[in-house]
Amino acid sequence: MSDLAAAAAAMGVPEALVKRSAEARARATGATVDDILAAWAGGGEAPSAPASAGAVDEGPKPQASSPTPEPAVATSGVSPEPQSPDLEPQTSNLEPQAAPRPAAPSAPPILVGERQGVGVVMSGSLGLLVLSLLLSVFLPSMQQPGNGIRSSNHPFSSAALEGRDIYASQGCATCHTQLIRNVVTDVGLGPVTLDDTNQVVGYRRIGPDLSAIGSRAEDTAALMALLAGAGNHPAATGLSEADLANLVAYLRESS
């Protein structure tokens, strides 16, 4: 009779369950399945599960009536969760009846914390966010022309302003910037961009920078052809003739 059959017979448990339990125990302990089956079949000591199984399943502890002495190493874990959520099967519950149960492991704590109010974290994080936004967004944006920055205050016609909104809604800024910087990589693209109300700055330069496209485009027909899908440019779909005209007006007046 094999160890598996012997263990199953000794414990009155189906062989499949015994085998599965032994495999799980083997994975958990590093021992071989044969060793574990032999131990169970002979009533011997099976390798104990590692502390993790017990630790993960550690349930809530009784409320201490007196202050708990602080351990040298950070301790404790709260795990109202009834079972291990790990992928590894929970071996202790599948253990055959006749096998000697390992002594309860001195469960190491798995979560480490300390007593404190959540308010500290919440107020601290919110305070940092507000400070960061003030410094990185609002303060730089509040500068006005004449107060250390220059603005072109470029005048646009009403058609061009409508075209600017179409430029934004079509996502042109995904591939085109309207920002020529005072750095060597942008030399030759045109005059350095000043703070302006009517730009759509953009963050990616897949295609050309369009800050001064109006002064470089050959004519309106060339721009219309590009918007219709000429060259490698995607066609602007879903736009009426008027929308296209407004968009071209915006580009022509960007100079």
């Binding site: 990185s136 703070d195 302006d196 490698n232």
Partner: protein, 489 residues
């Protein structure tokens, strides 16, 4: 001061989830972990959709003539699906899963969370359609028109509301590192969204707000909350206590300090005040400090389980995800300094960093959490640990390759612009890179190949999560054998 846990003590499951105490709207449709379960599986669908749209948007940048919708519309559609649909819903599910376990109290407003989930799906789907039809406002990353920002903001505020309500009832006096990240994430999310979508601003303020939102969202909501989940997952899965609480503290506060500053660094030498890029560069150094501290802490926590890491996908995913976050953090910090920023700003370099964060770091941390939580949530194991381990390797490989070649393409483009500026070849080469046949385009093409491998792995993860519902082995509670009731043939 470390301390022994006492809260939650002596409470049974029924006490933790009193059936009669949740009433009215807050209890509608609520059962234990229902919000976490629904958020997890719903967000996985958005991950699949978003991954497809993302790759499409990147391909549309390289081959614009091949796509009926331009990259300008595809990209925000992808970002809505990924950042809102997947990351907001999925990580909110993680928050809902952990809150009862870390506070010792039941989740308050579980019914509200479930209702908000349904509203979120509708809101995000409409937003995707609106942007696809050309109604977007062009503001990165979502381009959602301002009048649709209101319902989006409403659903983004729900995780904060549920968290605050639950924390008011907490019985656990100990605060765990996971809770720090979760609390910061849920409180930052709606505030960031408001700051990044204020209407009526002029161009510079719009640009700064958009960039600040993207940076803050990616670092504090996506990476931060995912790291918080990992601080729960790794000790639970390895059975080891957290290696160093002080290191976790460093990782948390550094992340908050540096989170927003990745944005302004991209506008170096623009019409911003002179001091802004300098401050951004210095504070941006906090990002690699945070991500490295968290990665080291999690790696040290695993301890003796390192020898089994090849067979433990939960741990492998957590370690790989946190390591990739550290790499992304280092790249972010380097790109913040002026000398590097003028070279890589506006180039695919930043797409590489964002890809590594989302599809390398966060997706692995998300997978780690999902694989740990699913057996508890649905009563079934992941269908195959081997397949899960393979997925970790594939996601890491694809994310690393995509990141590498996108950053190289960015560097090549930056150097190309510089060379063009010196040589006077601006008209032919210096104004963009997609229309050239130069090195940047080749590198970008290779990155797309890696991105395709990544897409397959991402879809594989979605399939792995869904397959657990149908093919996963039942967890032990369904074949429970007790000492008192031995099973017989």
């Amino acid at each position: 001061m470390a301390a022994t846990s006492t809260a939650g003590s002596g409470t049974s499951q029924s006490e933790l989830n009193p059936p009669g105490r949740l009433t009215g709207l807050m209890a509608a449709g609520a059962r234990r972990d229902s919000a976490a379960t629904r958020h997890l599986f719903t967000s996985t669908a958005f991950l699949g959709i978003g991954a497809l749209l993302w790759l499409g948007s990147m391909a549309a940048m390289r081959f614009p003539a091949l796509f009926p919708i331009s990259a300008g519309r595809l990209r925000p559609m992808a970002m809505i699906a990924l950042m809102l649909g997947w990351l907001v819903l999925g990580l909110a599910g993680g928050v809902y899963y952990l809150l009862p376990r870390l506070t010792g109290a039941s989740l308050r407003g579980e019914g509200l969370a479930n209702l908000a989930l349904a509203a979120s799906v509708g809101t995000f789907a409409v937003a995707i359609v609106l942007v696809g039809l050309g109604f977007g406002d062009g503001r990165e990353p979502f381009a959602i028109p301002w009048w649709w920002d209101v319902p989006v903001l409403a659903v983004l505020a729900v995780p904060a509301l549920v968290t605050l309500l639950s924390l008011r009832e907490r019985r656990e006096s100990i605060v765990y590192p996971s809770l720090w990240f979760m609390v910061a994430g849920v409180t930052w999310l709606p505030v960031l969204y408001v700051a990044g979508n204020l209407p009526g601003l002029r161009s510079l303020a719009i640009a700064l707000g958009d960039l600040a939102f993207s940076a803050g969202f990616l670092h504090v909501w996506a990476l931060g909350v995912a790291t918080g989940l990992a601080y729960y997952v790794v000790p639970k899965a390895s059975g080891q206590p957290l290696a160093n609480r002080q290191l976790a503290r460093v990782g948390f506060w550094s992340l908050l300090f540096g989170a927003v500053w990745m944005g302004p660094a991209q506008l170096v030498a623009g019409p911003t005040p002179e001091w802004l890029p300098a401050v951004a560069a210095v504070l941006g150094l906090a990002i690699p400090v945070a991500s490295t501290a968290n990665a080291v802490n999690l790696a040290l926590t695993i301890g003796p389980e390192w020898r089994n890491i090849g067979r433990r996908p939960i741990l492998a995913a957590a370690v790989a995800g946190s390591a990739l976050a550290a790499i992304a953090g280092i790249a972010t910090a380097i790109a913040g300094f002026r000398s590097a920023a003028v070279l890589v700003a506006f180039t695919p370099f930043w797409d590489g960093v964002i890809y590594l964060l989302m599809f390398g770091a966060v997706i692995l941390l998300f997978a780690s959490f999902a694989w740990l939580a699913i057996p508890t949530l649905v009563g079934r194991m992941i269908d195959s640990q081997k397949r899960a381990t393979r997925l970790v390797r594939r996601i890491t490989f694809a994310a690393g390759g995509t990141f590498l070649f996108l950053t190289l393409a960015g560097l090549a483009a930056g150097y190309g612009w510089t060379g063009a500026a010196y040589s006077g070849l601006v008209e032919n080469f210096g104004e963009g890179w997609a229309q050239t046949s130069g090195l940047p385009s080749v590198l970008f093409g290779i990155a797309l190949l890696f991105g395709t491998l990544g897409l397959l792995a991402q879809l594989g993860l979605c399939a792995s999560i869904y397959r657990s519902l149908t093919s996963g082995r039942a967890t032990i509670q369904e074949v429970l054998i007790t000492d008192e009731e031995p099973v017989t043939e």
